[in-house]
């Protein structure tokens, strides 16, 4: 493709004003749609990590009185 035909390709027979914005919107909107969850994923994992760090810190502090039950669903029936 030489220079002249390339520029005529971009000119789209005088309809560049309509064709290229359409394709631009297509690409930009889908790119945004693609990137949004990637950023959100990073944020979510960061939050999980910081929560884990907080819990570890609490556990370390609480380990002084020794046997504290592991967090979870370990409830049982305790008779008085």
């Amino acid at each position: 493709m030489n220079g002249a035909s390339l520029s005529s390709f971009f000119a789209m027979g005088g309809y560049a004003v309509y064709v290229w914005p359409a394709y631009g919107v297509f690409i930009i909107v889908l790119l945004m749609d693609w990137l949004a969850p990637q950023f959100r994923r990073r944020r979510v994992l960061r939050e999980v990590r910081s929560r884990m760090a907080r819990q570890d810190g609490r556990k370390a502090r609480a380990s002084a009185p020794a046997s504290l039950e592991e967090e979870g669903r370990g409830e049982g029936l305790r008779l008085p």
């Binding site: 027979g13 359409a22 889908l30 969850p37």
Partner: protein
């Protein structure tokens, strides 16, 4: 005989299993989508001859039509997922329904913009109250309503179920809107946009169109999986498998 279907479906609907499954499929889907998209664009923008009647601007249809189709298709997927979420209360179905909504809204938005660009060229106006454009606009509002309702709840799962109900109401609404707007158009003698005229389409135009349809489908799968994976991470952020992923990410 149908015993095996619920079994593998049940397994797949477990969040960590689906997370891995979607993660392994997603790169393939997006690669194929981009590849097909580039081929379709090349075919549509370069190889297809310019139409002797309409000039070059008909090339908008190579994105307008696939996007319009996807906007309806995704609403259908969302409706099915919403139905499953409400009847069987499956977490994955809620996630799929809610992850579909923004993608569908994006495609609807593209359809509207490209449609109005086309309208500007054909009738010298950005917006005409044509039956199809109006229905598409209503569809966009339905998507936005679902998204807004979902985000107005503090509890994600409750928001998802409520928005799923709205999506189902919308499914009944779309044909009614289309019918009423059509009736309204005959009453007011509005204009009709015909991107694909009754004339037969040349093969040189048809194959890029179909390729682009395949590309948008694959893109939807890839984007849906990406969003669903993040939503699952958020929903299950207290579970061990998410913690493991969070830790591995920091090392990797």
């Amino acid at each position: 005989m149908a015993n095996w279907i619920p079994l593998w479906l049940h397994k797949l609907s477990s969040p960590p299993v689906f997370y891995r499954f979607a993660g392994s499929l997603r790169p393939w889907a997006i690669t194929l989508a981009v590849l097909l998209g580039v081929i379709a664009l090349y075919g549509g923008l370069v190889l297809a001859p310019s139409d002797y009647q309409q000039g070059n601007d008909y090339r908008i249809i190579f994105i307008h039509v696939p996007c319009a189709w996807m906007s309806l298709f995704i609403y259908g997927v969302m409706g099915v997922a919403a139905f499953i979420a409400l009847v069987w209360r499956i977490k994955l179905a809620e996630v799929i329904a809610m992850a579909s909504a923004p993608i569908g809204a994006a495609f609807t938005f593209i359809t509207l913009v490209t449609g109005s660009l086309w309208g500007e060229r054909m009738w010298g106006t950005w917006w005409t109250w044509d039956a199809r454009l109006t229905s598409e606009l209503v569809l966009l509002f339905l998507y936005l309503g679902v998204i807004a309702l979902y985000h107005s709840f503090e509890d994600r799962r409750q928001g998802a179920r409520t928005a799923a109900f709205l999506a189902l109401i919308g499914i009944i609404n779309v044909p009614i809107v289309h019918f009423s707007v059509n009736w309204w158009n005959t009453l007011h003698q509005g204009s009709t946009i015909r991107l694909l005229g009754p004339s037969t389409i040349a093969t040189s135009m048809l194959w890029p169109l179909l390729t682009m349809m395949a590309a948008t489908k694959l893109y939807y799968i890839a984007s849906l999986f990406g969003r669903a994976r993040v939503d699952l991470l958020t929903l299950e952020s207290g579970k061990d498998w998410v913690r493991q992923i969070a830790q591995n990410e920091v090392r990797g």
